[in-house]
Every structure is written in structure tokens, then in C-alpha cells.
Amino acid sequence: MNDTLAQISSYSVYSAIVVLFLALGFYALYLARVARAGEAEVEAAPERELVAAGGTTSSVGTDEPVGTDEPASTGGHVGTDAATQEPARARKAAGIAWTLTLLGTALVVAAVVTRAVEVARWPLGNMYEFAIVGAMFTLLAYVGWSSRRDLRWLGAFVLAPVLAVLGSAVTVWWTEGSALMPSLRSYWIAIHVTVATMTVAVFTLGAVIGALYLLQDKRETSGGGGGRTAFMSRLPSARALERLSYSAHVVAFPMWTFTVIAGAIWARQAWGSYWNWDPKEVWSFVIWVVYAAYLHARATTGWKRQNAMWIALIGFGCVILNFAVVNVFFVGQHSYSGL
């Protein structure tokens, strides 16, 4: 019974990797096709600003719709399909990508659920499980967010890190299902570790969009439109990307604060002291402080948004380090036997 479940779980992960890899390909194709159509157009970017600025009496860009910018951005030029102003071939690619993403997400959810049934406990006890659950939350966040705004431009950039995590999960972090050690046997695992994993998913979205913001910003200031970064013309403006990234961080930061508090409460139950400066605690603290610095930097007039975003990206670097390095190489109470 358990062996069957374990196999179903494994097959689900492997199938999800294949499906999501195809989805990634179609999202990339979508961006490429939009970009090629855009190149026929002369310099799409300045047009966009004109459209935005001309729409209302307010200052440039403040009312540019975030993410839902396609009617304004391509402004009724060229488009082979009048309804969306995007080439039909591009729309088709995005549609296939979306369907595949839904399928891949369902497969990852199935993998997590069967794993949970197999081990008969909360499926967050080792790095393999953190990885697949983290990938699941990232996918769910993307899918959920997509239902509220057009995020087809983001698909490729979310699926790439998700695939990297799933790939690492099945190669480096693969761990057979097993019971937990006594200190992990607590309902706090469902609270602390679940929220931590969700938070990492949201931080991932924030960091991906933040990196795109920095690219878009560079592209806008240098005025470059075509060439290898032509696909960026499909993305929202730098300003809109920056706001999107900020809103992801605004969600993630309180969640991380809660993760640390819940961890402290649990640490007191399990280890006798709510804060031990265990390496994992140190890095959770560092992450908290770095993201706090990001929020302050962003709120400070006179600090460039670009510099603030770099701080957030450093914070995400710490998040990755806290998972991939601290768990494995640092001696501490968060070291998990068998990863």
C-alpha cells in the first residue's frame, strides 16, 4: 500500500517536471512570438507611455494599469487579432502553456497529497518534502494570482525556478518517506513549517518580479527595444513591475515575521528556549532584517527604488542559502537526519 503510494507520488513529481518543462517552453514561445510581432512595430515602448499619459489628466504612469496592460501597451497596432492585439499564434502558445501549468500544478498537488498519505503525517519533515511543497505553493500562488490579472508574461520566469527546485528535489534531496524524530512531532510543524514554505513561495514571486524590474528598468533607461531583450516589451513597465514586486514582499514580510514568532514558540516547547541562535534561527533573523531594510529603503524618499530592490534580492539570496546551505552544512538543531 505505502509502496504504491510512494510510487504514485514519485511518478507525479516526474510527470509534473515534464509537463511544467513543456509549459515553460510554451510560455517562452509566447514571449518570443509577441516580441517578434512587436519588432515589426516601431519602438513599442514610447508609444505605451504616450497612451498611458494621454489617457487621463494625471501625471505619466501613475494610472497605468498593472499587469492588465495589453490593450494600452500594443495600442491597436499591427495585431493580427483585433480582440487582444496579440498575434493569434502567441495567444495559442500562452493558452497551451496555461493548460499545461494547471496540469503540472495538479500533479504536484497530487504528489504532495500521496506523500502525506504514505508517511501518515504532515508532509514537511525533510528537504525533499519542503522542496515539493514549496514548488506547490509557488505554483498555486501563480495560478491563483493569474486568475485576478493577466500574468502570462510571468509564466516562464516562475516555472524556471520551480523546475530547478523540483529537479533538485528528485536528484539531490530525494528522501524516502519515514517517521519524524520526537522534536518534530508537534502540531507546530503544520503551522510553522507550512507558513515558512508559503512565505518562501511568495518571496520567490517577489524576487522574480524584482529581477525583471531591474532588467526592464535598465532596458527603459538605455532605450533599447529590440534584440535579445525584445521579449521584455511584453512585460509591464518597470514602474509597474516594481509595484508588483513590492506588493508580493508586503504579503511575504508579515508572513515571515509570523514564521519566526511561531518558530520561537515551538522552540520553547521542544528545546526549552525560544531563541537559541541556532544557525537556522540566525539566518531567519538575517532574512528578516534584510527584508526590513528593503521596506525601509523603499519607504525612504531619496533612496532609489533600484537600490531598494537589490536589498530585496540579497534577502532572497539569504532565503535560498537558509534552505540549501544552512540545512545541510551547518551544525544545528534544524539539521534533519537524511536531509
Binding site: 524516502e176 519515514s178 525560544y274 537559541n276 541562535w277 531594510a293 531619496g302 551547518f330
Partner: protein
Amino acid sequence: MSATDERTRADLSTQPAPPDGGDGSGSGGGVTLPRLGPGGWLRYAWRQLTSMRTALFLLLLLAVAAIPGSTFPQRSIDAARTAQWITDHPTAGPVLDRLGFFEVYASPWFAAIYLLLFVSLIGCVLPRSRIHWHQLRARPPRAPRRLERLAAHREVETDETPEAVLERLRTTLRGRRYRVHAHDASTLSAEKGYLKESGNLVFHLALIGVLVGVAWGHLLGWKGDVILPVGQTFANTLSRYDTFSPGPWVDVSGLDPFTLRLDRMHVEFESDTTGRGQFGAPRDFDATTTFTDAAGQAREESIRVNHPLETGHGTVFLLGNGYAPHVTVRDADGTVIYSDATPFLPQDNFYTSVGAVKVPGADPDQLGFAGFFLPTGVIDDQRGPHSVFPDTLDPQLALTAFEGQLFPSGAPQSVYTLDTEAMTPVPGKDGADQLRILLRPGQTYDLPGARGSITFDGVERFAGLSIRSDPGKTLTLVSSLLALAGLVLNLVVRRRRVFVRVSAAEGTGRTVVSVGGLAKDDDEGMDDEVDAVLTADEGHR
């Protein structure tokens, strides 16, 4: 640290910041600075410290400074590993030690950073609290003359009279939870989102609470560890602890007079061999105890990992376990000169344990035995005696014997190691330099010469208990939850101002309604907000 320069952010003024901003970008090349007296310098230093730029720098510095505590072993967490690291690195070790790298979180430089950060925080939050207090009771400011200059602005014409429009918009704004005030007959000023700044201030003030709670726990908290074999009773007095570390302000004579007897110790290990690193992993620890409180009331209590026992002023945690082989030593006449359950300390995940049996009553020389207890013992040439499973499948006691003086200097020594400075090894019967004894439960070994015998009677488990008190933890918890609540308010609530001006349109008799919106930070929803205010009652438009 709470936010930017209060001039530009705490009030939503549209005026530019005064040119002498404390956190300005420093002096330009050719500018002559006024001479500063001592008071001026102090004020300058204070402004620098409480500026956002400094706070940001200190925040990032704090993050960097915390990192060495995770890369170097820390004395407060693992003193043995720290000592080993210093021994292994004879050049860097002592230098880093002097610089505090093995006690990062107690080091002066780490303290300097967070204390400066908190001073900066207080210096920023207190004035802002004052301002916010005044703003909470103040009216929204007068509408600026040119509403079209605000970030969000709409203008419509209507047939209503100016009074009717103002009355309608006043109701709309109130309905949208704005505080509304009319400074004159043709304008409305409205503001909402005061909770944003309230949340911000609560967050930062609560952080001070967290720090105070931590400090309080450090000064008035204590912790003590004790190893308690099954069947033995622990009385909560200072002398019964194996180690005891009180905070500087703790009155150690005032411990709760409770006793705790360990009746049973249930331990379960993973015997399933599948799963990487899982074989032998602990699965369940459960100490069944009899707890007798200060009033003499006895009750059975189970202490497990994640399930500590509250004793009143302290909490008993089950943090370790191991084996205490029961050893009896007799002299040449057969008289018992030592008989006790002797705890051996586990060294690895399979409970290869080290310990010592000290027999001061032996005559003429005192006897000492040191060595290993192996719950499932294997002895091979490469690794020596070691255990291959944590449970007692094949318990063995592997000892060497020494004779001489056990306590030559009279100084306190560890009960788990033998100080062999004033002792000589007991030679083996076969002429070897060192006598080696291997015992299984029930076996007795006759020592060479007239030294008597040693018997391994059997093995008991022990519980490693830690009894701790942290009177600051409630303050820390409540403060951190308050901080979280404040943080959410600060990030979710939007501070917005809406101004309305009505005027007569030229010649038509209609009314021009001009609505401007101003938000703190950039607020992508401000345009929608202005639209929503204007169109709340579409029919009148």
C-alpha cells in the same frame, strides 16, 4: 528607523523639505559650514543617528554581524566544539576568540549595533508618536489651491448647486470612512488611514518590548541541567544540579522546593532500515515521573519532547537521555565498596557512551575505571569499541582500570572522565601494559592481584532534564505579536487625503466639481479612489 525624515513623510505636506535636512547628502565641495559648538555637534550627532540612512546602515550591519554566529561554533551552544575549533586553528582561533567570534551575540560589537539601532529607533519613533498624536486629533488640512497638481485629480460639471454637491460628497466620504472637514464654504478636506501610522508606531514600540523581554529573561532567568537515572529522585535545590546558570539578578536560594522522581523512561528508535539516515533515529522519548510540589502533593506527570512540565516558576524539559550502567565493585574480601547506576554520556547517534566509575573507598590505592558503554556493542580494530544501534540489543561495558589518587588536587572534576594524572594503569593479567575489561550484564571480572572485582549488574536509562525559568518570555511574546499586528496595519492600511472644490462654471449656471487625491507613498489605487468618490452616486453626475 521607523521611516523617513518626518518632515517629508509624517505629515503629507506638499512642501519641499527644508534645505538643512539632517540626513541630507552631506556638505558640498565649496560650501562653508557654520562652526558648531558642543551642543551643535551633539545635535548633529543625534540627527545623524536618528536619520533613516543611519538606521538602514545599522540594519544591514546587524544582518552581517549576525552571520559569524552561524559559521563559527558558539560557546554558549556547544562549548566542546568551540574549544575543538580553537585547538584545530592555532593561529586564527585565539585571535577570533579575543574578537568575540565564538560568542557573537554577547559580544560588545554586536551589542553596540543593536543598541545604536534601538536608540535610533527611539529617537525616530518618539517624535513621530507626538506628531501622530496631534494629527489624530487635528482636522484634515486646508485644500491646496490647485487640486489638478495632485497625483490624482478629476473634474466634472453638474447641474446641482454647489451646496448640494458638497453635502453629497461629504456623505460619500464619511461613508468611505474619511474624516471630513470644511475649512470654507467651497471646499472639503478629507483624510483617512490614520491606522497606518498607528500600526507603524505600534510595530516599532513593540520591538522595544521584545528587547526588554529578552533582557528581562536574561537578567532574571535561570537554567539548570540534571541527569536523572530511573528510580532516582531529584530535589530542586542548587546542589542537586549538574550545571546551573543563573542570570545576574537571580536569587538562587529561592528555588521552588519540589521533587521529581523518574519512574520510567520509554525510548523508541527506528529499526526500519529503509530511509537514508533513518536507521536508529529517535522516534519517541517519554519520561514518566512523580512530581511532588512544594505543598507535598504528589502526582504522576509525563514529560516528553514538545511536552514539558510546568512546575510553577520553572519548566522541566526532557532534552536528553542515555544509559546508566549499574556497576558494583567489591574489595578482595568481597565487601561492596561501590554500587551505583553510573550515567555514561552518549557521544553519537547510536549512543556510544563514555563515562567513569570512581571508587574512592578502594584500599590501599583508590580505583578508577574509564571507558565506554555500548547499548549494541561492536569492537573492531579500526573504530575501537562503538555502538551500532541506540537501543540495548547487546549492552556491553568496555573499561580500562587505573589506580592511585582520584582527586589529587582536590579541584572539582567531571564525573564522566577520570583524571589520571596521579594514577597508573592497572596492568593486564597477560602482561599487557593496560588491563582491558569487557563486561555484559551479570558478568563479573576479577581484578588482578588483591584488587577485588567489578560487576556489571545491569543497565538503567537516564533522563537528561533541563529546568528553566524565563520570566521575560511573556513580554517578548506579547510584544512580538503586537509588532506583527502593527506591521500588518502599517502595510495594509493606506493613508489618503481627498480634497473637493466646487465653483460655478462660467456662463452655464452649472457647477464644476474638482476632486484631488493625495496618498502617502505611491498608491496605485488613488485614481480609482477619486473616481469612486465622484461616482458613488452615479445618477447625480
